[in-house]
Amino acid sequence: MKNVKTIHIVWLIALAYVAVLWSTASSVGFTRDEGYYFKAAQEYSGWWGVLFSSRFFDAFTATEIAKHFSYNTEHPPLVKLCQGITYHVFSEWLGVTSPSTGFRVTGFLFGGFSLVATYLLAKELVDERTGVLAALFMAVMPRYFFDAHLACFDVPITAMWTFSIYMFVRALRAPRGQVWRRAIQCGVVFGLALATKLNALFLPFVFILLWLIEPPDPLAPRLVRAPLGGTDVRLPRVPIVLWTCAIIGPLVFIATWPHLWHDTFGRINAYLLFHMHHEHYPALYLGDLLIKPPFPWHFPVVMTFYTVPAPIVLLGALGLLRALVAFVRRRNLADGLLLVGVALPVFLIAMPDTPIFGGVKHWYNALPALSILAARALWGSLDAFDFGSRPAIAYTIAALTVVPGALAIQHSHPNGIGFYNELAGGYVGAARIGMQRGFWGGLAYPLYPTLNERTVGPTRVFFNRTNYDSYKMYRREDVFERRFHYANEPRGAQVAVDFAQPEHAEQQGAIWSWVGTRPVAGVYQDNVTLIQLYVKGQSNAPPP
């Protein structure tokens, strides 16, 4: 395949991915964090209005910045700024989407871009066909597909993480005439990654490791003759791209975040401290409710094994082993990078002192490397049996490895946040072995439009894990009528939503006590209970 053709294919795949995300987004409920980011994006976007107005200089004052950027300072701004733009363009100006979809379009675009970034990295490290297959693998991961719908940061940082590494490798390998240009490009991209999510702070570890694996100049200190006589010790030369990342990266990070333009170091410190003392997200794992550290080290490993489609995770495991063997035999950048690309994000979560992050999304940035390893393992196997001369068979087998993920997406949508693969036995198998079924409050969405028919008059609803900002967006989009009010507890509520999440299940007892014990409706995936809805006056009586 010619390069121009494969990149076109990948852009086409990415475009199709964005289109599918866009067309299926309306059935995905608002997850807990999205409510916060809708609000933040809208507030941030107000700043553009000041910047592009006669009050241009006011936009840089501490007061104006505080007015627009004081909310949600625990996450950097790039994605929220983009969400504000896509919201205004697609919802406010063009009127082609709902407000929530307007915010989410940013996520769709980053989702598509993550496929392209995976392809580019694979092409740089392996070859084009591996890149195409790896991009397809990324596209058919049900949990990733679910998260790519959201106005959140995890898919964007996966794209930016991967693209940053790609840019770094290119810069490290740059021919003489392009060293500076590529180094500056990489510094900018790294800065944008820093402005996307905290994970990017760990990229320098990857960069330095890559430099040590494949240094452009010898690493060992050397004795050289000094210009004025005598002997000097020449230290290894640090590549320019590391300097540009160290200098341009933070500058871009600060430049994109007006909140940091005043009290810069104090606010960066506060941002970092927040994450060092992040709250724990409990998770049900193999029958145990994990609520405080130390988490089992194998948590991210087992969760990956059970949530990435079987052909991809198994081929990925094989590819990982092969890369390890190859790297031990002969140190090389491709194997080293792919190894660390999978291991580092997983390792960070597996560390016993890491605040507990229950969702697999927190190590999504390991998936591109895993996909590349899986794709490389498959093509390597096909080549060994000379399927290159029978491309139809080779492509059929490759396509077969993509099919389970595609079918799983079709089956699990819009409940992909609780997806478990065929190795776990799907939703039913995972429930049997005691795995978390859902979180973040979005799964209840299918029940909300039905509230209008279930009740009359002003009604207080205990939305439980669906937070207030998500409720406000539902109201804004007329998912339910204006007569529904947000209740902070089951007491006094006429309607209550119960999430099958044991970490919050004390609410079920309160709901049963105050509202009744018979749910009137629910959200089920393969008959596994995810959500149940209770209505006062109906839930303590037989069904009609």
């Binding site: 490290l125 392996v126 070859d127 591996t130 494949e214 409710l289 489609p309 052909p311 198994l314 081929l315 094989l318 092969r322 190859a326 090389n332 950048l333 491709a334 990078l337 490389r376 393992a377 498959l378 093509w379 390597g380 196997s381 080549d383 060994a384 049996f385 087998i397 077969l400 490895t401 389970p404 993920g405 079918l407 799983a408 079709q410 089956h411 065929e422 039913v428 429930a431 044991p502 299940a505 004390e506 079920q508 007892g509 309160a510 049963w512 006590s513 105050w514 014990t517 018979r518 409706a521 089920y524 393969d526 008959n527 596994v528 209970t529 149940q532 839930s539 009586a541 037989p542 069904p543």
Partner: protein, 312 residues
């Protein structure tokens, strides 16, 4: 030093790769094309009808598997139990037991119950993929006195340093149920019937949070005795995960020496029982205490029943 690109694999590894690709692809595709989604909502509604029509007060409804509770939409008001270990339930407290199962889990449970001495009364014809059966329990006990239902008759005290402070305010609690309120720490220091998550299921039980010092005493006068006092008690799931000390439950009759039951943090709805006289009445007291009351959420049920033998 430019890195390697594609990796042609050794034949053995390549064969493994192809096996994984073909096996994983075929298995995965077959799995998602034929995945068992269980019965439809309509089938479950239809299957629930025999229970709705035939249920009597005191019947127990066991739902399996524990994660498939759609049938609660039809029988939730009858107090069904969808728990991981249904055989650990208080089977002897019920004359009749219903089994509702999907995913093929119903039949093994019916078999296990009959092996425990229950008699299959009827296996209902229900839509495919569902199992509904009714079993009689010839060895069941007769409940003579339910402490939870008779809470209004009880006296509640906080005993500390030899003095007793009465929790004598009878107020409206959760869902309108009454509760005995202590005069301080009103958010949590009371006794009331409430639903709490005890292990893997919410149960109606008597909330009785131990005090920081001393004992919380729930005292029932003139309780008719019938041979056994049987109960279940333990930490709520929240307490089990966050509390730091076990809870002591002392059960005493007419102020006599108490029988002490210790509930460790991992005990969430453990049975306890005491032999009693088979006739007459007594003042029965439950005293709850701990060395560390922080997040020590405790709930219990108890009754007086006639029984010659009790399940372990």
């Amino acid at each position: 030093m430019r890195s390697t690109v594609a990796q042609p694999a050794p034949r053995g590894v390549a064969a493994l790769g192809l096996l994984v690709a073909l096996g994983g692809g075929l298995y995965g595709a077959a799995f998602w094309l034929t995945v068992d989604e269980g019965p439809s909502a309509e089938a479950i509604a239809e299957a629930a009808k025999p229970i709705l029509d035939g249920h009597r007060a005191g019947d127990l409804i066991l739902v399996v598997p524990h994660f498939a509770t759609r049938v609660y939409e039809h029988v939730g008001h009858l107090g069904p139990l969808a728990v991981k270990a249904p055989l650990r339930e208080d089977l002897d407290g019920h004359q009749r037991i219903w089994v509702f199962g999907i995913f093929g889990d119903g039949e093994p449970l019916v078999d296990a119950l009959t092996a425990r001495g229950l008699e299959l009364a009827e296996r209902f014809t229900t839509p495919a993929g569902t199992t509904v059966a009714l079993l009689n329990n010839p060895g069941a006990n007769t409940i003579r006195y339910d402490f939870l239902a008779r809470l209004r008759d009880a006296k509640v005290f906080h005993e500390k340093n030899g003095t007793r402070t009465a929790c004598s305010e009878w107020t409206s609690g959760r869902g309108g149920a009454g509760r005995w309120q202590c005069p301080y720490d009103k958010d949590w220091f009371y006794v009331a019937p409430e639903y709490h998550l005890m292990g893997d299921h919410s149960r109606l039980c008597l909330w009785a949070h131990p005090p920081g010092e001393g004992r919380l005493i729930v005292e029932y006068p003139r309780v008719p005795l019938a041979g056994r006092l049987y109960g279940r008690a333990g930490h709520t799931l929240n307490g089990s995960l966050n509390a730091r000390a076990p809870i002591d439950l002392d059960v005493a009759f007419d102020g006599g020496p108490p029988q002490r039951f210790v509930f460790e943090l991992e005990d969430y709805f453990e049975p306890f029982y005491v032999r009693t006289a088979t006739a007459g009445t007594a003042t029965v007291s439950f005293a709850i205490s701990t060395v560390d009351a922080g997040v020590n959420h405790f709930c219990f049920t108890a009754d007086i029943r006639t029984a010659e033998e009790l399940a372990p």
